[in-house]
Amino acid sequence: MSSPTGAEEGFNRSASRQLALYGVFAVLGFTLLMFGLNFAAGLTSTQVGGVAGAVDVENNEITAYIRQDPPQLNTTGAADAISGIVLGHIMEGLLRYDEHGDIAPGLAESWELDGNRAIFHIRDNARWSNGQPITAHDFEFAWKTTLDPATASQYAFILYAIKNAAAVNAGELPLSEAGIRALDDHTLEVVLEQPIAYFDKMVAFTTYFPINEAFFRSTNGRYAADADTMIYSGPFKLTSWVRGASLRLEKNPYYWDHDRIRLDAVNFAYITEDTNTLLNLFKDGRIVLADLTAEMLEGAMQQRWILDRFMDGSVFFIDFNHRPGRVTGNLNLRKAMQLAQDGNELVDRVIKLPGYLPAKSLFPVWLKGVERTFQEEYPPPVPEYNVALAREYLEKAKQELGLAEIPPLVMLADTSPVATISAQYYQQVFRKNLGLELVIDQQIFGQRLAKMEAGDFDIVLSGWGPDYNDPLTFGDYYASWNLNNRGRYLNPELDAQVRIGQSSLDPRERMDAFGRIQQILFDDAVFIGNYERGKLYATDPRVKGIIRRAIGAETDFTAAYIDADGR
C-alpha cells in the first residue's frame, strides 16, 4: 500500500466530492422519477376511465372480480362454478333459486308435478334480450340439443331423469323419443323415466336453461363463443367479454321481472384467483368484495372491514383408492387412519378460517332432511380420535396384508393453499400417530382429477360440491356406476340404498336410505371427512344484497343495490 503523495491526495478529494455530488443527483433524480411516474399513472387511469372504483353511484353499477375466465357459456355443456356465476346473471330457466335459497318461479309462472309427468306454464311476458318471446320450443330445443349424441355434452346425464334421455344420449333412440314436448308456445310437457321427488330443483340447474333455435342456427356453431353470439333470458345481458380479461353485464330491459333488478350494470373487471391481488384490489376500493384467507383475518379486523361468511356447499375429504392391489383397500388400515386424526384440529388450528366446519359426514350440515336438517334427523356417527385404538387397527392391517411395514402412501392433492397445508398437516399427523409415511403429490386441479381417474394414488385430498339441493347429489357419489367415484369403491349394499334414494317418492323412505348410506360409509371407513368449505369475505359497505350460496350462482348480484350512504 503506497502512501499517497500530495497530488494524489488532491485528486482523491476532488474525486470523492464528485462522487458525493453524483449520489445526491441520483437520489434526487429517482425521487423526481417516482413522482413523475405516479403522476403519469394517475393521468392515464383517469383518461381510460374504465377502472374508476368498486361502486359507481352515478351510473348505478358495481365492479367485481371472477376467479377464472368462464370455460364456456353454452348451457348445453357448461357446468362449472365459474360459468355458473356468469350464467346465473344472464340466463334464467323455468325455475330459479330466490335470495333465500328456495325454489321460485322463473320463466315458468306455474308448474305441476304429477307422477312421472311435469307441466310447466311459461309466462306470456318472457322475452329474449332481442325482444323475441321465450317459448316452450326453446326449452325443448335446448334440452334435446344437450342430449344429441353429436353435441357430446359432458353434463347430459343431468337430464337422464327424463324418459328415454339416456338412450337418446347414447344414440340408441332418435331425439324425438326423448320425453320433452312443447304442447304449445307456453306449455312444456316433460315425461320422466320414473317419478322423481326433486325434479323441480333440478330444473333450476344451468343445463335446463333455454336456447333459441333460430338464433342458435344463425351463429353457425359459434353459439355462446362471445358476447355477440348469445341472446339472454336472464336479468342481465353480456355486453362485452374480453377473454381472460373482463366481462361486462348490463341490465336486460326485456327480462320479465326487470323491476326486481336494481343495478344497471355489473363489471367483472378482474379475472384472477390470486388472493393477495384481490385483497389489494379491495383495499384500493376497486372491487366490491374479496374472499379472505386465514392470514388476512387479523389485518381485516384491524381495518374494521365488514366481514361475512357463507358455506359454498362443498365437502372435502380424504378419498382412498379402493382398487385391488392397493394397501388402502384394507379396511383396518383405513380405520386406523380414520381414528388417528382429529377433524376439529385441522379446522380450528391449521386452516383457521371461521367459514370452515369439520366434515362429520358426506352429507353437509346445510342439507335439508324431511323436516329439519338432514344431520339433525340422522346424526352422523363420528370417529373418536383415539391413537391407541388406531395403532391396534394398524397392527391388524399389517397382519392381514402380510407386511412388516406399510409402504409409503402417495397422497394426491391439488395446489390450492388449503390443500397444501392440509396435506402437510396429514403427512405429519400420520407419521406421528401411526408411523405411516405419506408422499405428497401436488398437482394442479385438472391434473389431480386425471390422476384420480387413472387410479394413480393411494389417498387423495378430494372434494365434492352439490349440483342440486337434494341429498342425492352427495348420496350417489360412491355408487359403483358413478364415474366421480374415482377411488372405485364398490359395495352392492350401498348401491341398493342409492337406488332407493333415486326412485322413491316418499321423503321419509329416501332420507332413511341416505341415513343408511351415511352409516355404511362410516362402518366401512370409506373416506375421512376433512372439512365443509366456507368462505369468509369482506364486502364494500355501500353495496347491499349480495347473495352468496351453495346452490346456483355462487356469487349473485341480481338482488344487489347501491346504498351510497352505507358506511
Binding site: 392470514e295 383475518l297 389485518g299 405428497i440 369468509l536
Partner: protein, 463 residues
C-alpha cells in the same frame, strides 16, 4: 569515433567472476504468491468479516443441527405463527370435555344477554345467551378490537338458526389475549339486523397434563397439578404457520442452500476451466467452434430448462427438485468461466516465459500444469466466489416459485415463499429466511471482492 567496435579482450576477461555472498541476503522474508494474497486479504476488513460470516454460516448449517436438536418438520400445534420471544407460559387444566350448553358452576357471574358459560381458556370459549325478542337466529362474531360505530364485528364465527336462547363453543384458533364477542340478531331469512350484544373476554393459555407429558415439557418424574404453570417448547426464532421451529428450519434450509451454493458452482467452474483452457490452449478453428458452442449455451433460457429438466427427470411425488436444479445449473452456467479462462490462457500463451520454457524443452503438460493453470487460478477462484452467491440466490428464487425443494424439506427460498402470505401479520416468518439469504449473498460477494483484490493484481480496484 575512432574507438574500435570490439574492445580488445584479454584472457582475464574470461575468468569467472568470483561469487559474491552478499546478494543472497534479503532484507525481508520471501513470500509466495499465495502468502502475499492471504496477507492482502487479511488487510481488507470487509473481506475478513465476510470470511467469518461464511465460516459462521457453514457452522450454522453443519454444527447447528447437532446443538439445536429440533426436528424441522415437527409441528407445535400450540404455538402456531409464534413470534420470537412471545410468552410461553400455560396453565394446566383438565382435558377438554364436550359441553352440554349449560353454564357450568365455575362460570363467572355476569350481567347481560351474552354471557360466558364457563371459564374462558385457549381450549374453548363457551358462550350462552338469552332469547332476544324478534330474533329468528343469531350470528356470533369474534373480534380482536372493540366494536365501534362502524359495526365491524370482526370474524363471523357461526350462524345459529334458533329463535330461543342458545349457546356456542368457540375453539377456532384461540390465542391468549383479549377477544370481543358479539351476538347479532338474524331475521327469518338469516340476514343480519342492527340488534347486537357484545362481551369482552380475556383468554389465558392453557394446556392439559397429557399434552405436557406428550410434548415432554417437564421432566418425567415431576408431578403436575391443575393450575400449575408450565412453559411451552422454546422456539428462539419463533414458529411458522404450521408451528414448526423457524431456527431448525433455517438450519436445515442452510444445508440445502449451501449445498447447492457450493457444489453446483464448484462443478460448473471446473467444467468451465477444462473447457476454456482446452479451447484457449489448442486455439485455431477448434477454439472458434468451442466458443460458438459456449455462446449457444449462454443463449439458452435458464427457467425454461429448469422446467424441462424436471420433466425429463420424471420427478415423482414428494421428490425434491434439487438434483435437476443442480444439473441445470452445471449445464447452463459454465460458459462464463470458460470464456474467462480461455482469455487468460490465450494471454498467457503469448508470454515470454512460456516461450522460454518451451525453448528449454518443456512438454505441453508441464506448461499447462506449471504455468497456465497456476496463473489462471486467481481468476478462477474469484469467479468461484462470485458464483456461490449467484447459485444460492438461484436456488432461493426457484424454491420461492415452487420449483425447488418438496415439503416438508425447508430451504430459505421456500420458507420465504411461505412467509410471504403472512408478511403483514407475522413478519418474522419472512424476515429470518430473507435475512439469511441477503446475508449469505452479501458475504460471498464481499469475500469475492476481497479475493479479487488480493489475487488478481491487475483487476484491483484502487483504494
Amino acid at each position: 569515433m575512432n574507438e574500435p567496435l570490439i574492445p580488445a579482450l584479454t584472457p582475464e576477461d574470461f575468468t569467472p567472476v568470483h561469487q559474491r555472498e552478499d546478494v543472497h541476503g534479503l532484507s525481508r522474508p520471501s513470500r509466495s504468491y499465495w502468502q502475499d494474497a492471504w496477507w492482502r486479504l487479511r488487510r481488507n476488513r470487509r473481506a475478513l468479516a465476510s470470511l467469518w460470516i461464511v465460516v459462521g454460516l457453514l457452522a450454522f448449517a453443519l454444527i447447528g443441527p447437532l446443538l439445536w436438536r429440533v426436528d424441522p418438520a415437527r409441528q407445535d400445534i400450540d404455538q402456531i405463527s409464534q413470534a420470537p420471544g412471545a410468552d410461553r407460559s400455560a396453565v394446566i387444566v383438565a382435558p377438554y370435555q364436550p359441553w352440554s350448553g349449560q353454564p357450568t358452576a365455575a362460570a363467572p357471574v355476569q350481567e347481560g344477554v351474552l354471557r360466558l358459560g364457563d371459564v374462558p381458556t385457549s381450549q374453548a370459549v363457551r358462550l350462552v345467551w338469552d332469547a332476544l325478542p324478534g330474533a329468528s337466529g343469531y350470528r356470533v362474531y369474534r373480534n380482536d378490537y372493540p366494536i365501534d360505530a362502524g359495526m365491524a364485528f370482526g370474524l363471523p364465527i357461526i350462524d345459529v338458526m334458533a329463535s330461543g336462547g342458545g349457546h356456542y363453543e368457540d375453539r377456532l384458533n384461540l390465542r391468549p389475549g383479549t377477544y370481543y364477542y358479539s351476538l347479532v340478531v338474524l331475521n327469518e331469512f338469516g340476514e343480519i339486523t342492527d340488534r347486537y350484544e357484545t362481551r369482552q373476554v380475556e383468554v389465558p393459555r392453557v394446556i392439559t397434563e397429557d399434552e405436557v407429558r406428550q410434548r415432554g415439557l417437564v421432566p418425567e418424574e415431576q408431578a403436575l397439578a391443575l393450575g400449575d404453570t408450565v412453559y411451552l417448547a422454546f422456539h428462539p426464532l419463533g414458529t411458522d404457520y404450521l408451528g414448526r421451529d423457524v431456527l431448525a428450519r433455517l438450519m436445515s434450509g442452510a444445508r440445502v442452500s449451501l449445498f447447492i451454493g457450493i457444489v453446483a458452482p464448484f462443478l460448473y467452474v471446473l467444467l468451465g476451466v477444462i473447457y476454456g483452457s482446452t479451447a484457449g490452449f489448442i486455439g485455431g478453428r477448434l477454439d472458434q467452434l468451442m466458443m460458438r458452442f459456449a455462446d449457444f449455451v449462454v443463449a439458452l433460457p435458464f427457467l425454461l430448462f429448469m422446467i424441462l429438466f424436471q420433466v425429463v427427470f420424471g420427478l415423482g411425488p414428494g421428490q425434491s427438485g434439487i438434483i435437476p436444479m443442480m444439473v441445470a445449473l452445471v449445464l447452463l452456467q459454465w460458459p462464463a468461466t470458460a470464456r474467462l479462462v480461455r482469455g487468460q490462457i490465450l494471454q498467457i500463451r503469448q508470454e515470454a516465459y512460456i516461450s522460454a520454457s518451451r525453448l528449454l524443452g518443456a512438454k505441453t503438460w508441464y506448461l499447462v500444469l506449471r504455468h497456465m493453470i497456476p496463473n489462471t487460478l486467481g481468476v478462477v477462484l474469484v469467479t468461484l466466489t462470485f458464483a456461490v452467491p449467484n447459485a444460492i440466490f438461484t436456488e432461493a428464487f426457484l424454491s420461492f416459485i415452487g420449483m425447488g425443494v418438496a415439503p416438508p424439506t425447508a430451504s430459505w427460498g421456500s420458507m420465504s415463499n411461505e412467509g410471504l402470505a403472512t408478511m403483514l401479520t407475522h413478519p418474522h416468518e419472512l424476515m429470518f429466511p430473507a435475512l439469511f439469504i441477503s446475508l449469505t449473498v452479501l458475504a460471498f460477494n464481499l469475500l469475492g471482492d476481497g479475493l479479487r483484490d488480493a489475487l488478481d493484481v491487475r483487476m484491483r480496484s484502487v483504494e
